[in-house]
Amino acid sequence: MDTSGYVIPFENCDNSMVGIVGGKCASLGELMKARIPVPPGFAITTAAYEQFLNDNDLKKKIINRLTNLNDEDLSKLEEASKDIRSWIEAGTINETLEDIIASHYRLLSRRSRIPALPVAVRSSATAEDLPGASFAGQQDTFLWIRGVDQLLDRTKRCWSSLFTPRAIAYRIKMGFDHSVVLISVAIQKMVRSFTAGVMFTLNPATGDRATVVIDSNYGYGESVVSGEVTPDQFHVNKITMDVVKKTVSEKKIYYTTDPESDEVLKLDLHPERQTSQSLLDEEIIQLAKVGKIIEQHYGRPMDIEWATEKGLPYKGEIFILQSRPETVWSQKEAKPLVEPKASAIEQIIAGLIKGRTIT
């Protein structure tokens, strides 16, 4: 395979490579290294972006266009953004680079056994740029992209997202040098979710850290995340890995893709499926195990988006789409549950005196 460094599969990305593959690709690589199933894909690196700029003589042109801009002059910012983005989007990706990207895409397609595999094209910002809210990425996620031409086109759009008016304004305000700000692009297999939802590696209702709570509905996770349905809820004991509680709710709607147009649709769930358990017991356990690994990997309770895929030559597979630290319980001050005592007997006396409230 190529050694150009233009493209790096997720499984070869890690946190030391944020400058080359961006934060998103680096963390996907980390998850893979922890044996967490994430949808496969690859990073189009900052080197590819730089090569593209050079090939199209854009570097200087962009810097010049950005000089003397004021971060508060919105109309000027917008004009500059429009110019720069149109130059990038009209640029040509050289044949070598195109071949490398195309061969990685075909490999991904082959591995997934789907011709012209639908992928998500997302920008993967290099960290210094916009800590916290990565609004470059917010605007520039392209879902259900099929074929090399579309992929290359959306890649350029991701690159150009470095120059949204807000991004430009932010760098001016912070005094960052536009010329050193680079971007990577993540190409990731789309998961045709059979079921999806969220998972907390603690019980958000009680704070119990030994419980994993999974919310689930058919189709894409949007219906769960947005709160449009009351999802099924499963409680799994994290230590013994048994399902301790199941609540199957009436799930009225779900999100799915139109197989013809790849458009995301919101549909009524078939009446029979509305009250059926959306995850099999084995899937619940498998998912909780993945949650436990993620928690151990990050060393803290996590809030995770997941999906399962079916209809493949294989049986249902679990994928992790996103994970971030849980914030509500984790930010509470850790205080001793009971006053510590010098000996067990003193603790027993204190416990006996307290007794148990029953009304």
Binding site: A210, H235, V244, K335, L337, A344, I345, I348, I353, G355
Partner: protein, 610 residues
């Protein structure tokens, strides 16, 4: 919590045709309105039905153990160890069913003083646990030996000449009265020892449970018991002995004989060969004392031990021989159990958020592990070994009453209170001494017949779960651990009541061991029916004991009428990773063999599918 109404004890239902039942039981067990203070006390307490120990109404004799623990448990809380906030547990009886209530310390200002005393006294036991426990075992074995040696003399036509020549100076009539007194005294003594460690064991455990539930609000009780549960506990010993005998039969090549099921045949055919005799020797060794294990809880006279009926262990031994012949491993997976127990504890511990909590967890877990083997082991010494011998000694006394036509059948004696037996024995020996006719035959057969009718009516009656007024807090360790009295269990009771009137497809019990399974029911009313179990069935039994152990090799889950999270079925199922629901009250009568059910061992819920 939703308001829950339990009947006023003085207005509880009375059953027509049972009038006068009160004389079958001690007078102080009755609810009474005679005295305004006592009436008010009874109305203000919360009395709950002790279905855990008594799934059926009390026999007038069998109430001996209820009186024994009424005294023993209470005295250790109130007068010996001085449990800071809790006194003893008071008892009442209604329509033959036992109701109990824990008494709090009335004046909270007494608690600090009691705490100081408890620290000193209980502290002494916790610190010297092993030594005192060895001492306990010696005492217990001592009284069991005295019981085994106790002679119940038959009254001779004439005394031996030696009474004269050796100047003995007393008659067999006197000796009979004395032997009966001694028998009863040994029983009461066994129950004094029963509680010597138990209160402290439960106290340590209950505080650990509370801590775990505070740290992990979702933690199932079963997991906590698993963390403290002993490995080398004698509850498994009878079953281990049976496994050893199965292996020995194969090694000695007498397994064909050993598979014959009937004890009479096995004993006869074994005696005919040298290897067979070797096996019989091993059987005899195992029987003393391990076959004194009861097939029930040991609380009732009808709970037989393996030694009472060798068919029971020897027929289930066949299950082991079959498995061994197929090359299967029948050993308890002790290494895996220890590993799992330690993994549970260390993973829960690792999730604690502060150093202080880790310290508390270690202190309480350590103490609970020290005390827990006793909590599990005392059952064999008292309820199994001692009781099994004791019931048979009483039967020897009963034979004398049958001989003198006081009662018609040996098994009628259970319809007499122990004080009435003493009176009857006086009637016997004075008649025997005098040469006159005792009055007993004119009194007891009639009375026993009437009592049998009354008890039949009691059996048809469903006792309410509770009576009186619900308190705000409970501090009494036994009440919490054994009967699981919590706001959840109370509302669960209320739910149970509403369900029993409506939805018949659900049965609830205590979650004994987690897991969800679906399968076919096999109702086994006694351990003798265990042989009918098919691989993968769900066992439904009144209760189980170590003598049921072979059944657990075949089943997918267990359900019992009686028992809490610490009962035999729950302990064994947790060990084998099978779901269990215990203390359902009525599963054996509501479920039928062959029925398909789905059960959830974590919730304690059974769904009848068809």
């Amino acid at each position: 919590m939703a308001a829950m109404n339990f009947p006023n004890p003085h207005e509880a239902e009375r059953i027509p045709g049972t009038e006068g039942w009160e004389r079958m039981y001690p007078y102080h067990y009755q609810y009474t309105t005679d005295d305004p203070d006592r009436k008010k006390y009874e109305e203000n307490m919360f009395w709950f039905y002790d279905g855990l120990h008594y799934p059926e109404p009390m026999y007038p004799f069998d109430i001996i153990w209820d009186e024994a623990w009424f005294l023993a448990l209470s005295q250790f809380n109130t007068r010996i160890f001085i449990v800071p906030p809790a006194l003893g547990i008071d008892h009442r009886i209604h329509n033959g069913y036992i109701y109990i209530t824990p008494l709090p310390v009335a004046d909270p200002s007494d608690i600090p003083k009691r705490a100081e005393l408890f620290m000193k006294r209980a502290g002494y036991y916790y610190q010297n646990w092993d030594r005192l426990h060895d001492n306990w075992e010696a005492k217990m074995r001592g009284i069991i030996e005295r019981l085994a040696d106790l002679k119940i003399p038959e009254l001779p036509e004439m005394e031996e000449e030696s009474v004269v020549t050796e100047g003995i100076g007393v008659s067999t009539g006197y000796k009979l009265l004395k032997a009966y007194d001694e028998l009863i005294d040994l029983g009461i003594l066994a129950w004094q020892y029963h509680f010597e460690f138990l209160n402290l064991g439960y106290a340590a455990y209950v505080v650990f449970v509370d801590f775990c539930q505070k740290a992990f609000p979702d933690i199932p009780l079963q997991r906590i018991t698993q963390m403290v549960g002993g490995i080398d506990v004698i509850i498994y010993r009878p079953d281990e002995e049976l496994k050893k005998l199965a292996k020995l039969a194969i090694d000695l090549k007498v397994d064909e004989i050993a598979m014959k099921g009937s004890a009479a045949v096995i004993l006869k055919e074994m005696a005919a060969s040298e290897n067979g005799r070797k096996w019989l020797e091993a059987l005899e060794t195992a029987r003393q004392p391990w076959f004194y294990v009861s097939t029930g809880t040991g609380w009732y006279h009808h709970d037989k031990s393996w030694n009472d009926d060798l068919d029971i262990p020897l027929s289930s031994m066949g299950i082991y021989i079959e498995k061994l012949r197929k090359g299967e491993n029948i050993d308890r997976p002790t290494k895996a159990i220890i590993a799992e127990r330690d993994r549970l504890a260390s993973e829960y511990r690792a999730l604690l958020k502060t150093e202080a909590d880790i310290q508390t967890f270690d202190q309480l877990l350590g103490t609970s592990r020290t005390v827990f083997p006793y909590v599990e082991n005392h059952l064999f010494y008292v309820e199994h070994w001692f009781h099994s011998l004791f019931w048979n000694k009483i039967r020897e006394v009963s034979k004398i009453l049958v001989d003198f036509k006081f009662i018609e059948d040996v098994e009628d004696i259970w319809y007499l209170k122990r004080s009435e037996i003493k009176d009857a024995l006086w009637d016997v020996v004075t008649g025997w001494a005098t040469g006159s006719n005792p009055r007993g035959p004119l009194v007891w057969p009639k009375e026993v017949a009437w009592r049998k009718e009354v008890m039949a009516k009691f059996r048809e009656w469903t006792p309410p779960d509770g009576m009186g007024t619900i308190p705000e807090t409970i501090n009494e360790p036994f009440t919490i651990v054994l009967w699981g009295i919590t706001s959840e269990s109370m509302s669960h009771w209320a739910k149970l009541k509403s369900i029993s009137e409506g939805d018949l497809t659900k049965i609830y019990g205590f979650p004994g061991s987690p897991g969800v399974v679906e399968g076919k029911v096999r109702v086994c009313r006694t351990v003798k029916e265990v042989g009918q179990l098919q691989e993968g069935e769900i066992l439904v039994a009144p209760t189980t004991s170590p003598s049921w152990a072979p059944a657990f090799q075949k089943i997918k889950a267990a359900i019992t009428d009686v028992g809490g999270v610490m009962c035999h079925a729950a302990i064994v199922c947790r060990e084998y990773g099978l779901p269990a629901i215990v203390g359902t009250g009525s599963a054996t009568s509501r479920l039928k063999t062959g029925q398909r059910i789905r059960l959830d061992g974590s919730k304690g819920e059974i769904n009848i599918i068809d």
